[in-house]
């Protein structure tokens, strides 16, 4: 196994700050609850939409999630981080609802985190073949240096749209992993914990998703354009 943190799967537990937040919530502190909503609501809505395309249904699922948080906080012991717990409630609700609506669910079936066959991060055509005499497997057409492009180029509106398009085009499992990890800022361990998948498999899916997004955005990453 890798030397990555938490490779043992022991998982990361709630911090002191989170436990005192929970205590405040149990006492009925509305400001604390409001802050929690501000912190996670938009994320929950985005992730719910990955399961349910209907906006109204997704909103209901998010509301049920908050109700689950409100009523579950006395039972929450901090075995996982607060964020992981909230996402787990969301995903349970979203999955149930999506199945009921007859939709295909990411990581839905048996052997759900099967990662499938190998997938190259970069098209093999861009490397010398393995039998190349001098540089087997090295770049023939390397990505072009982005230092020539203006700072923050990727954040331009047009590129933001391309980014969203690239995410939407991903296979559902990859899209979900990438969204939780990179858009919502969970750690890889948290993502796998929330989705109930092996960390190695989760990282493979993340890797493939990122590679696809990079490839889709490559024209925008290069200086010339």
């Amino acid at each position: 196994m890798s030397s990555g943190a938490n490779a043992s799967g022991a998982g990361q537990t709630a911090t002191h700050a989170e436990l005192s937040l929970i205590e405040a919530l149990r006492q009925g502190n509305e400001d604390a609850f409001g802050r929690l909503v501000d912190q996670h609501h938009a994320s929950l809505r985005r992730v719910a939409r990955l399961y349910l395309s209907n906006r109204a249904v997704a909103e209901e699922v998010v509301q049920d999630t908050w109700l689950g948080v409100i009523q579950g906080m006395w039972a929450f012991e901090g075995r996982s981080s607060l964020k992981t717990w909230i996402f787990r409630i969301l995903i349970n609700h979203a999955k149930t609802r999506a199945v009921r609506e007859g939709r295909t669910v990411p990581f839905g079936g048996v052997g759900a985190d099967d990662i499938g066959g190998p997938e190259a991060a970069v098209s093999p055509e861009r490397f010398h073949p393995a039998n190349h005499p001098a540089e087997p497997g090295n770049w023939t057409s390397p990505p072009r240096d982005i230092r020539t492009s203006p700072e923050g180029r990727l954040l331009a509106r047009e590129v933001g749209e391309q980014l969203q398009k690239a995410i939407d085009a991903l296979p559902p499992n990859q899209r979900l992993v990438l969204t939780l990890r990179d858009v919502e800022g969970c750690s890889t361990e948290e993502v796998c914990n929330v989705l109930g998948i092996q960390e190695t498999n989760g990282r493979v899916l993340l890797h493939r998703a990122r590679a696809k997004v990079r490839a889709a955005l490559e024209p925008y990453l290069e200086g010339g354009g």
């Binding site: 890798s2 030397s3 990555g4 943190a5 919530l25 149990r26 009925g28 509305e30 609850f33 909503v37 501000d38 609501h41 938009a42 985005r46 909103e59 509301q63 049920d64 908050w66 109700l67 409100i70 009523q71 579950g72 039972a75 929450f76 012991e77 996982s80 717990w85 409630i89 969301l90 995903i91 349970n92 149930t96 991060a121 970069v122 540089e135 087997p136 497997g137 090295n138 770049w139 390397p142 240096d145 982005i146 990727l154 590129v159 933001g160 980014l163 990438l178 990179d182 858009v183 919502e184 800022g185 890889t188 990282r203 890797h207 990122r210 997004v213 990079r214 955005l217 490559e218 990453l221």
Partner: protein, 291 residues
């Protein structure tokens, strides 16, 4: 796992691009990590690839921070939900959870006694579990073997495969053949574990083994029943205890069924029970009785 990569010249670019995610996650072995660093020192193409990847990851994070703007009405609605449905709320709780029996609704945190006389009335308690399954909740059976196996058969008849539910962590059995403290602890653990895994609620169906072999004596079961009410009051759970009117002693029915439950379900109606005795008082009189 793969062998540690040799020198930078030994690792083709095509292999390196496959390690970028693990590298950025800090999940490579020190040897692999060192090989990657060495490769990047000498390969501008791969350096660019890494920089692009970091730019992509950074931009994705920006996407998440972009629309954090809140909808005021929705936020207020959620605050309202917190105010009225949180367990810190002292007033009467909204009965919003379908019980699955007699078209009644209950609230999370309820402890209900259900008195049954006919076989049909017993079988109706499987509806309590079925409603939980329907809502993606976790169900816990705390009963003697006879009652449990009949409930499982009832579930099967309703088209809910108990084995599949068990495998999916949706149906559990807690043994009552242990001291009251241990039973109470085991129920609490089950509830907390289920909530931790994101389950919306837990239903516990009790068919306590009064006088059954291996079960605690009557006094100990009464002590358990008296304490369940407070133990689950603030947990997303509904505990329903079935009382067999034809077979149980009057004392078990009165002290256990009536005095230990704030709610009773009888003749198809869930009612607040004025005869409920708070645990502390109940346990005190029980101790005096014994003395």
């Amino acid at each position: 796992m793969r062998q540690p990569i040799g020198s930078s010249t030994g690792m083709p670019c095509q292999e390196l691009v496959e390690l970028v995610t693990a590298y950025l996650d800090g999940a490579l072995s020190p040897a692999d990590r060192e090989s990657c660093d060495a490769h990047w020192r000498t390969c501008p193409g791969c350096r660019t690839y890494l920089a692009q990847m970091q730019l992509v990851v950074g931009s994705l994070g920006h996407l998440g921070r972009r629309d954090a703007g809140e909808n005021g009405a929705e936020r207020n609605h959620l605050l309202d939900l917190f105010r009225t449905r949180g367990f810190h709320h002292r007033g009467p709780r909204e009965r919003s959870v379908p019980l699955g029996v007699a078209d009644e609704f209950a609230s999370p945190g309820d402890h209900i006694s259900y008195f049954w006389e006919s076989e049909d009335e017993f079988d109706a308690t499987a509806g309590f579990l079925a409603a939980g399954v329907e809502r993606d909740e976790v169900c816990v059976l705390l009963g003697h073997a006879g009652a449990n196996s009949r409930l499982l058969a009832d579930l099967e008849r309703r088209g809910l495969a108990p084995d599949r539910l068990r495998r999916g962590d949706r149906l559990h059995t807690v043994s009552g053949q242990q001291p009251a403290d241990a039973v109470l602890g085991a129920i609490g653990d089950r509830i907390r574990t289920a909530v931790d895994r994101g389950a919306p609620m837990v239903r516990v169906l009790g068919n306590l083994g009064w006088g059954h072999p291996g079960w605690p004596a009557e006094g100990d079961i009464l002590r358990l029943e008296a304490r369940v009410t407070d133990a689950v009051r603030n947990l997303p759970s509904i505990v329903m205890c079935a009382y067999d009117v034809r077979r149980l002693s009057g004392r078990s029915l009165l002290l256990g069924g009536v005095e230990c439950h704030p709610l009773t379900l009888r003749r198809g109606a869930l009612r607040r029970n004025e005869h409920h005795v708070p645990a502390e008082q109940f346990l005190e009189t029980l101790a005096l009785d014994a003395a």
